[in-house]
Amino acid sequence: MIKAVMMMNTQGKPRLAKFYDFFTVEKQQELIRGVFSVLCSRPENISNFLEIDSLFGPDSWLVYKHYATLYFVLVFDGSENELAMLDLIQVLVETLDKCFSNVCELDIVFNYSKMHTVLDEIVFGGQVLETSSTEVMKAVEDISKLEAASNAVSLVPKSVSRWRGR
């Protein structure tokens, strides 16, 4: 099971944080800060795994990958394979790349809801559902079309149309 997915920049600002167990908002912020303090002290070229029992309880592991200015973090337990989780981060990043073409941190900052859409297709309730970025892209595109369609319904605000209707 996956316990959390986080994206934060190298200054510790979270860009996305999704927890698959319930935590209060204060606890969430605390966890984000805790993870950042662990990550920022790690030099390059060493392993990407960490035991993180102190923050997330027993049998918690963390895998992270450092891309440019962002840390992608996955917190999981013993029922996931460590190297597979590393691959999953790769899948996520590839999908984002396809979504935004040459994704950078700013894309992630400004497209908060799309990020969630993508993530929700890959990890569902803590389980890994989809590992192929093409499939994910298909679903994401469909959802975006649906959203756009539903949004196009009322470009004219209701109060105006009511006024016009009188």
């Binding site: 099971m1 979270p14 860009r15 996305l16 944080a17 999704k18 698959y20 319930f22 209060t24 908002v25 204060e26 969430q28 912020q29 030099p43 070229n45 060493i46 392993s47 990407n48 795994f49 960490l50 013993g78 029922s79 394979n81 460590e82 190297l83 597979a84 590393l86 691959d87 900052v109 400004f110 908060y112 809801s113 969630h116 929700d120 569902f124 309730g125 803590g126 389980q127 890994v128 559902l129 989809e130 590992t131 192929s132 499939e135 679903a139 469909d142 959802i143 649906l146 959203e147 369609a149 539903s150 949004n151 319904v153 009322s154 605000p157 209701k158 109060s159 105006v160």
Partner: protein, 785 residues
């Protein structure tokens, strides 16, 4: 109208990045806006406000639980956009105690029955994240239907939600399990991976319930080519094989096949892990797994190295040969720059019985392990050690490893820990006692430094010893003749400390007839016995060749002579006339002052007192004692001789007196200090004329060495500075800077003695220069007047 001027989430984010006010005031302003907007009846306004709120909650930690009802309202909208925002807010903020939770049941049901698969997936995701018992119960029929849906997208997600539903409402199992199992036979790889994922979790919680499905899993294991699926199936088998060992036989073969054929490292690792944890009885499989571990360990990728070590530590308890095969890699990992790898290697070595390991491998490797473990553990004042009792016993065990040649480092650490970690002292004394009573240790040259540390520790912290009597017996045993003199000296001094402690507690017990505070009670007979044992053991040493051994032996014997009378008179501490009592009390005072670690920079921190000239040219000294210094320089003074300076001092006096008195050598039974020392010089610094065959005289010829040595030995060491470093584990005294961190000592002596050396030397120079200055002043004054 309100909708047009409302800030959307994008505007909010942009505003945030451009804001000139402080972050928190920006957030509070935005929150005010949101609170206003969210009460609007228009669903679009409401949903945008909710969207902004969920963003603030997730990224900036703003509480959004007050908006629960509004989220429910938003979700009821028919528009997909609003539904998404609503469900996102719900999954983020709802929990078991949210009061409005039940209100979404109907909405969820509607959405789960929707034609639009994306609406269905929204509902399913919500259920999987926040599903409660009631929700699960009410919605399990819908889930059941969806599990059989024709759209694979929907089926995949429904499978995902099953886990939560089963968890919260176990009765749902009766309904849905069959469909779940049917999905196992699907050809769609995504659905399959979702299903096996669910079974993996179910198997972790209750392996026996999934046991009947083993044949299906076996089929998947053999046929599937999807790595994700295979990994999950392997995990399932790992859990199942622990309840049903016969399964192991069947799956060992296919697992080995996968290990050989696949290129995916993740799959290889999972196979290895399954084999070493659950199939450890199958030799062929284990051999292959260990071979793969070996490959991982030599890879450059630190991840693979770390995982290799991890797998090795799982395999180690049952398969020690696996570690031996990869020993070079493990030792190399101890000095890797990755802290994970280092720690894993260390745990690996420490978890195993190091004795067994070293017995089977060559001495060089053995010592390598020892030195690596010692250096890693002692880094930064024993940062990684939490249980010092265990570490001290480990040090003791290392001593017993055959071919151990790291005596100096172990000696250093034993003393260091004694000084820094107060709580570890009882264990230290226990371990030292075990080492001291073992006669076999005395024969091994490499272990002598450890024995010196053990005896020092036992003497210094004798109050923790269970049985001082046995300790003393160990310290004076005849076999200690095998020890070099400087270590013998430490033994005798420790005997002295023990004696002082015992006498002190005996005298105080006499005083307070109601039980003494010390743990060991001494009766008249036992203390007398102790004193006799010491006397008998130390007596032969009073005639030893080595200066220090002799001095100390004589100290102890003199003290005993004095104490014996007072013991016989049955005096107590209050009796002011009893000399022994007073001396004992005085010595106890001296020994009770705690010795702490000294920083390497301590000497530099001592401020030079006013009027002390250290830089001044010592040319004047030449003037004053020129005629005396020259003969001394021609002799080679070995630096190992600690009293060399004082001896040369006397030599100067020697020469002075010799030039004024007759030149003939006094007969050998001369009582003057001067003559005796000349004789001794004759013995040590052999020159052609002083070939006195009788200089190897009887013990009585030698002058009392007390006066000479006393200025060096009885100098209490001032701990220069102690900074107590507070930790939750036993307090480890750590100094601010300049703390030592060397591995190999070049000198066999303990550091304390060499520091005393320098101090006494510098003091002597100081006093010599002061005399010089005073002389000059007097001269100047004389001229003036």
């Amino acid at each position: 109208m309100d909708n047009m001027f409302q800030r959307s989430l994008e505007d909010l984010i942009k505003g945030f990045r451009l804001q000139l006010l402080g972050e928190s005031s920006f957030i509070s302003r935005a929150l005010e806006e949101i609170r206003r907007e969210i009460k609007a009846t228009d669903l679009s306004t409401k949903s945008t406000a909710l969207h902004k709120l969920s963003y603030l909650a997730a990224i900036h930690g703003v509480d959004m639980s007050w908006a629960a009802f509004h989220a429910v309202e938003v979700v009821s909208s028919s528009r997909f956009h609003h539904k998404r925002i609503g469900y996102q807010a719900i999954t983020q903020s709802f929990h078991d105690q949210t009061s409005v939770l039940l209100l979404i049941t109907n909405q969820l049901r509607k959405d789960l029955n929707s034609v639009n698969e994306y609406e269905v997936s929204l509902g399913l995701e919500c259920l999987s994240r926040i599903g409660t018992h009631d929700l699960a119960r009410d919605l399990s029929p819908e889930v059941f239907t969806l599990l059989g849906s024709s759209k694979s997208f929907v089926r995949k997600k429904a499978t995902g939600v099953v886990l939560r539903v089963f968890d919260k409402y176990p009765d749902a199992v009766k309904v849905c399990f069959k469909r779940l199992v049917e999905n196992l036979e699907t050809s769609d790889p995504q659905i399959l991976s979702a299903v096996v994922g669910v079974f993996c979790e179910l198997a972790s919680k209750d392996p026996s319930s999934c046991l009947p499905l083993a044949p299906e899993f076996f089929k998947i294991l053999i046929e599937s080519r999807n790595n994700w699926v295979l990994i999950k199936v392997l995990k399932i088998f790992a859990k199942l094989a622990s309840v049903e060992p016969r399964l192991g036989k069947k799956v060992a073969e296919p697992i080995c096949e996968h290990m050989k054929r696949t290129v995916a490292k993740s799959l290889v690792f999972e196979c290895v892990r399954t084999v070493v944890s659950s199939l450890s009885d199958h030799e062929a499989a284990v051999k292959l797994a260990v071979a793969k571990i070996g490959e991982f360990l030599v890879e450059d990728d630190p991840n693979l190295k770390y995982l290799g070590l991890h797998a090795l530590s799982i395999a180690a308890p049952k398969h020690l040969w696996a570690v031996l095969e990869n020993k070079e890699a493990v030792v190399k990992a101890l000095s890797d720059e990755d802290p994970n790898v280092k720690l894993e290697a260390l745990h690996l070595l420490m978890a195993m019985d190091s004795y067994e390991l070293c017995a089977k491998s060559d001495p060089l490797f053995c010592n390598e392990i020892i030195i690596s473990v010692l250096s890693v553990c002692s880094r930064n004042a024993y940062e990684i050690i939490v249980d010092f009792n265990w570490y001290v016993s480990l040090l003791g065990e290392m001593t017993r490893i055959p071919n151990c040649q790291r005596g100096e480092e172990i000696e250093h650490q034993l003393i260091d820990i004694g000084m820094r970690v107060g709580d570890a002292r009882p264990q230290l004394v226990r371990v030292s006692w075990a080492l001291l009573i073992d006669p076999a240790m005395l024969g091994n040259l490499f272990l002598h430094p450890i024995l010196s540390a053990a005896s020092w520790v036992s003497g210094e912290y004798v109050e923790f010893a269970k049985n001082p009597y046995e300790l003393v017996e160990a310290l004076v045993q005849p076999r200690t003749d095998l020890l070099p003199p400087y270590i013998r000296a430490i033994y005798i001094h420790s005997v002295f400390k023990v004696l002082v402690f015992c006498l002190g507690s005996y005298f105080s017990a006499q005083e307070s007839s109601s039980g003494s505070s010390s743990t060991v009670a001494f009766t008249y007979e036992s203390i007398l016995n102790l004193v006799n044992v010491i006397e008998i053991g130390v007596w032969p040493l009073s005639g030893a060749y080595d200066v220090e051994v002799q001095e100390r032996a004589k100290n102890v014997l003199g003290f005993i002579g004095m104490a014996k009378q007072d013991i016989a008179k049955k005096v107590n501490l209050q009796d002011n006339e009893a000399e022994a009592c007073r001396v004992t009390a005085f010595m106890e005072d001296v020994f009770s002052e705690e010795l702490g670690p000294i920083s390497a920079n301590a000497q530099e921190k001592v401020f030079v007192p006013d009027g002390l000239e250290l830089e001044e040219n010592l040319g004047d000294l030449e003037e004053i004692c020129g005629k005396f210094l020259k003969p001394v320089e021609s002799d080679s003074v070995p630096c190992a001789d600690k009293i060399s300076f004082s001896v040369s001092n006397l030599r100067i006096r020697d020469q002075q007196e010799a030039s004024s008195s007759s030149t003939s050598l006094p007969p050998k039974a001369s009582s003057s200090l001067l003559a005796e020392h000349r004789k001794r010089h004759g013995m040590y610094y052999l020159t052609s004329e002083k070939n006195d065959p009788d200089s190897n005289g009887t013990p009585n010829d030698y002058p009392p060495a007390n006066d000479l040595a006393s200025e060096i030995l009885l100098d209490p060491l001032d701990p220069k500075r102690k900074a107590k470093h507070r930790k939750s584990r036993p307090v480890v005294v750590k100094l601010d800077e300049g703390d030592e961190s060397r591995i190999i000592t070049s000198q066999a002596k303990t550091k304390q003695e060499s520091v005393t050396d320098d101090e006494s030397l510098s003091r002597a120079i100081q006093s010599a220069l002061l005399v010089n200055k005073k002389g000059k002043e007097r001269e100047a004054k004389g001229i003036q007047i």
